[in-house]
Symmetry: C2
Subunit: 400 residues, 2 copies
């Protein structure tokens, strides 16, 4: 026990809240993880070894340095070429910044643009890591209406005008996950992207495009990136290796105009991200990018289908509906009669099935009758079994 | 070029400063890097492989998760045992937090304790990474007088009272690098540590002990850590793998009382540090800790002696003096006649020798007649050659 008295010393910012400990249910659909079965540990080790074998002295010197503020040059070059080829984005290694996960990238952009009290528009339901960061910097998050295809452009313009009318300011940016959105799994069609770009130009609102699920499409073709549809510098593009390989690598990136990069780096404390992980990713993906994507896509499709089979069996004839995404990690589940899934969440968790209720993703707190189900992490058969179990628990609790 | 107009959008916090690009002189004594010749790349790969071989499924699952907010459990356990055994610090894996470098650890503690406008005491000359962080959070840094043994306890108490008298508040903490200090290379004797602990209890000022050079002692025995001399919870202990292995791994840590850990984690955004690098460090050091220390210590000693030989040859009979540290990475060089080394720095750099002038480390801007010379990074013979070159440049510029 501590006898030194810190009571009068704490900053206003810090709290004495307990540490968050993540608990996993038997069937854990609450997570946001890629398929662990295919995490290429030996591939990463071989990739790392190939870099060391190729030039031990160069690698040892670079490891002894504090990493370049933009991260490893070779991985930046690889990544710039990858998104040029995959996503039609014109960039190069000097305009790319590797970060400690895409979360750091989003955080730098938020800090470069937002002062406390500012407004940022997001999708109506949105990744809570970003809303947490916005709230950490005392930025107000306003969700804009979406349907099963993502943001609705007309409603987006209304949201801008509502902020303007209510608060006398324009929002500082739009944050969006247009491809296999977290949590809804929706993908925004090209036509809507073009409309949103027009609206953003009209009001002078930059777009922070978080494209971290684009590598996880298992059917059809990706929609074009916002960043490929606009060459004015308005779009800031964020990506990640968390869902292409694994979150444990803590490597994401962004590309933007040079003035945005300078601003973002001006608020960064410390050096670039992990050089050791960068070597492994670079060494591995330079020989295995397409194989890696197809390994994940194959198993993600099987996992989604297994979950869907469960949903069809367990919820046939009920008021439940669910999305059928063509990529990413999540199915969006809804009780169309408005039944509250938030209030039974803990009970369902205790009985063995984890999910996150929709209100956790909603800046305005709605969506209690919805839930995000992650199909990516649990083994194929557990996706089915867990959903059957969920149906049976829901029956027991009179949810369905 | 960007045609989208960001001018009215930037936050007050961001600046349009150019990106910092680190340039290296031919003889680079300006850096803060460990001996690259001994960075154990193959050892790290083998360490990583040993973890994967031992339990692929466990590793793959942990990589697929977002890392535990305190970082990898096994490396936490190893580190807690290491500092218990090396430094006599009573801790365990639950009271240890792995961070993205020791910089993140320091940043979390600063945020947990300091509000804008607060005061923190450091050594008179101190690691600029920490002063940059303090200034980023709008905390005032006050350097307290030191001699070749580090902080002077009586002067430290005077500094506390001066802050109290001038500003009506007590400082929020003491930040100190007591062992092989950066930049001076000094080590604080046990008797002074005990005096400082008494003073800190008297005024209720916690100590942030940054012990990141302790593994780099090549002669004699380490002084006892502040954290081992006080069991009240007043001391927060920070360490790092940057100087024991390499900064490119981006892994440091801190240990503190549970209430300090809870406060520090309450201001943290995002998950724990790189799981991939954690496996490599854990796998490697569990079999090679003593070997790794002795590899570095042997070459660091040779490098320091090579630099010292150069100093003795080049500066004999001049007004120059220098410290002869028993560990760490730096020799502290001083022109005892007050000759300004800051104003010739750029010219000397252009002629091939890099150093950092003392004023860059001084919160109050003094020390222009001093310089930090890093002997750890350049090869042994270049330490000698570069110093001979420095002497000749200084002669040419009438510095000596």
């Amino acid at each position: 026990m501590s006898s030194f008295n810190f009571d009068s010393l704490w900053s206003e910012k810090s709290t004495d809240a307990d540490r968050l400990i993540t608990l996993h249910a038997k069937y854990d659909f609450a997570v946001a993880y890629p398929p662990f079965e295919e995490v290429p540990m030996y591939g990463l080790i071989d990739g790392l070894k190939s870099k060391v074998d190729a030039n031990l002295e160069k690698v040892a010197k670079e490891m002894a340095y504090y990493p370049h503020v933009q991260g490893d040059e070779s991985l930046r070059e690889f990544t710039a070429n990858k998104i040029a080829s995959d996503r039609g984005i014109k960039t190069d290694k000097d305009s790319l910044v590797l970060c400690n996960g895409s979360g750091e990238a989003n955080g730098l952009i938020i800090q470069a643009l937002c002062d406390p009290g500012d407004y940022v528009i997001t999708e109506q339901f949105v990744y809570m890591g970003t809303t947490k960061q916005l709230s950490y910097y005392n930025v107000n998050t306003i969700g804009s209406p979406m349907d099963d295809q993502g943001l609705i452009p007309e409603k987006f313009e209304e949201t801008i005008n509502k902020i303007k009318n209510d608060h006398g300011v324009l929002p500082k940016m739009l944050y969006t996950i247009p491809e296999h959105q977290n949590p809804t799994g929706s993908t925004l069609p090209k036509s809507r992207r073009l409309q949103i770009i027009d609206i953003c130009h009209k009001y002078g609102i930059p777009i922070l495009e978080d494209d971290c699920y684009v590598d996880n499409r298992f059917e059809g073709e990706a929609e074009p990136a916002f960043a490929s549809l606009d060459d004015s510098g308005m779009v800031i593009y964020v990506g990640s290796f968390s869902k292409l390989i694994a979150p444990g690598l803590r490597l994401g990136f962004f590309t933007a105009s040079n003035e945005v990069i300078d601003r973002a780096l001006s608020v960064k404390v410390g050096s670039g991200p992990n050089q050791f992980a960068a070597y492994a990713i670079d060494g591995y993906l330079r020989s295995n990018l397409e194989q890696q994507k197809s390994n994940y896509d194959k198993i993600l499709k099987e996992k989604k289908e297994s979950m869907e089979k469960g949903l069809e069996e367990a919820f046939a004839g009920t008021k439940a509906s669910w999305s059928s995404p063509l990529g990413g990690c999540y199915t969006w589940f809804e009780m169309t009669d408005g039944t509250n899934l938030a209030e039974v969440r803990d009970e369902v968790f205790d009985r063995g099935v984890g999910y996150i209720a929709g209100d956790m993703f909603a800046p305005n707190g709605d969506g209690q009758n919805m839930a995000r189900l992650c199909f990516a992490f649990e083994p194929i058969e557990k996706n089915y079994e867990g959903i059957i179990e969920l149906g049976s628990i829901f029956k027991d609790l009179n949810v369905i």
